[in-house]
Symmetry: C2
Subunit: 237 residues, 2 copies
Amino acid sequence: MRYKLYYWPGVQGRGEYVRLAFEEAGVSYDEVAVRRGTGPIMKFMKSRTIAHPPFAPPYLKVGALIIGQTANILHYVGARFGLAPKEEGGRLWAHQLQLTITDFIKEAHDTHHPISGNLYFEEQKAAAIRRTADFKKSRAPKFLGYFERVIAQNPARSGLTIGRRVTYPDLSLFQVVEGMRYAFPKAMARLEKKLPLTVALHDRIAKRPRIAAYLASDRRPPFHNHDIFRRYPALDR
Amino acid sequence: MRYKLYYWPGVQGRGEYVRLAFEEAGVSYDEVAVRRGTGPIMKFMKSRTIAHPPFAPPYLKVGALIIGQTANILHYVGARFGLAPKEEGGRLWAHQLQLTITDFIKEAHDTHHPISGNLYFEEQKAAAIRRTADFKKSRAPKFLGYFERVIAQNPARSGLTIGRRVTYPDLSLFQVVEGMRYAFPKAMARLEKKLPLTVALHDRIAKRPRIAAYLASDRRPPFHNHDIFRRYPALDR
């Protein structure tokens, strides 16, 4: 297959944003670690000889090209798959939205690991409770409210983030809603009252035939607490 | 002027990576908030009518185009200013490196604000001490060691991150070293022993005529504790 995706098997994580783009486009991809285990992921990251070693998964191998960083991968495939505007200004806008989603995902992760990814949740639970309180009160409403406004201000008034056709930021925003619902069901139910356009976009993406087929397939990893979005009851009281 | 940069005046922050690209390229730019205060920054962010509202500064206005997210701005100007490779694979690699620097900067910021940007340092000092210990022991060596390896594995063996000519990731890596030296002088002195290529790159960038002139000018904001890189003695024992 032309496209080889390197990401942790069984984990949505950052790889999921890339998977959703491939699935919506109907482009087949080789999930290398699903097929062969995680060894090949580490091989390129640890290589002392390749010119472009990736810092972390996900990364995409296309021929001799190795493309790392989720948003960078989407920037590359988005244009090729018809999931981004064609003109430069539109491509930059799509990428800008994706980078803001990247920032949000990092903050969502750090709710449960505010001190260190090297420590267990229980070792940083008190700090996690404080950070999550701020996240739910301030950061999540700010980020999600921003995307709600982006949909509202889209001159096409299409209910999508950009123009009249589905682009990769729509798929990513769908995944953000999925993740927030998993991690913070109570808080997200409250937040959604102020996010009617975002919820409508989520529901519309979920019904896209290829996305619906993907979500029902065993290619879609389940949510669990070895991922970015995690459900800890202590963080969703 | 053709390029209007919107960022907080007197703060290096994320805007500094953009300023360094303009300065090295010798392209003049209008620092809107230096000239007119911060009002205009908020105007575009809060607008309920523009199609592409930025989430946060820095953003760059070029004619009708508003480009947000630091790495996205550098992706745009890099190619135009001769500060990025011309072919697509090289541009993606430069952008990938910048996005990894973006990740590092966020982690450097969160050392002093691990709980919330809405709280004072003193209100999260205990958590900051724990997070910083992990940052100095694990995260900073991992990120900086990665960039050291990128320079070592550059097939051109030029002492730069990419090819034989200075690109924007070199300027950004220079700024990271500057920031780390300001924030963690003791820890960084230890780390630098294992980063000879990175230190040499830093010194080489500092001597570039336009960069040296910029650093000596009053356009370069000073370091201080209202920025991303902050010096708190409690975090650098």
